[in-house]
Symmetry: C2
Subunit: 131 residues, 2 copies
DNA sequence: TCCAATGTAACAAAGGGTTGATACAAGCAG
DNA sequence: CTGCTTGTATCAACCCTTTGTTACATTGGA
């Protein structure tokens, strides 16, 4: 079960799986990296405020703030007090597309296996989705 | 950086990323699920002893024991005191939630295409990720 | 200028995970 | 039977994360 946070401005959704032992701030961090890497969020796009996202996800503001802070430090986001948080102008993407696609595929396979799917089923579903 | 634990008996390798905030027991649990799901470990294959794996990974025995215990409870492993731990005869594969998997595949394909990847590339990346 | 919005910082309290040690229980081989 | 191996249980101590709360600094618009 997960709580979804619709983000009309960026057209993206971030969620936190309460059954995942991974700390919420880390789940958020990874999802934003994936969203930026995949192009779902582009430079200049504004992210939800820490209070807004925290409220949507049922978390404390400080928890979301930590995710934003770490992403800021890594160059993914630009945050300014009073002005909000936006996707950085030059996200850390050296070998952009190839690396992003590989990361995307790895993440997909990991999640699919987490659902209990075997390799054959995973490939079949991807083939279906391609058509 | 990660510490690797070679497992000659099963021909598999399990590692723990000390920079990943995800608890070690959870990292181990997921990797074993992946190894069994992918067929790298087959029913009857013996896993390292809790002390052996803990020593290789630099963890406490109880930490590895917890991963084994959770996997046992979920039906992935069979563990008997004094006899060791082996892959269960009937790992929980049909648990594949068809709807969730389809949604996951659709989302993955959507993002991959957003990156500009063609169908062949997408399939190749998934195949790579499966191995 | 004034004020609301936003990110940041600090704090104590609570909960969970890990460690390291020890002890115990159950299987297996001699 | 005896001894070794293996998984399990317990314990206290420590560290990390989260929570609420409050306060503060900065930004931008009325």
């Amino acid at each position: 079960m997960s709580v979804a946070a619709d983000d009309p401005g960026a057209g993206a959704a971030i969620s936190v799986d309460v059954f995942d032992p991974t700390p919420p701030y880390e789940q958020i961090r990874r999802q934003i990296v994936a969203l930026v890497s995949s192009g779902a969020l582009t430079p200049g796009d504004r992210l939800p405020t820490v209070r807004q996202l925290a409220n949507d996800l049922g978390l404390a503001a400080g928890t979301v703030a930590r995710a934003y802070r770490e992403l800021e430090g890594a160059g993914w986001l630009n945050t300014r007090r009073g002005a909000g948080t936006r996707v950085g102008a030059a996200p850390p993407r050296p070998a952009a597309d190839a690396a992003a696609l590989r990361q995307l595929a790895d993440e997909f396979v990991r999640r699919a296996r987490f659902l209990g799917a075997d390799d054959g089923t995973i490939l079949r579903r991807v083939t279906d989705a391609l058509s």
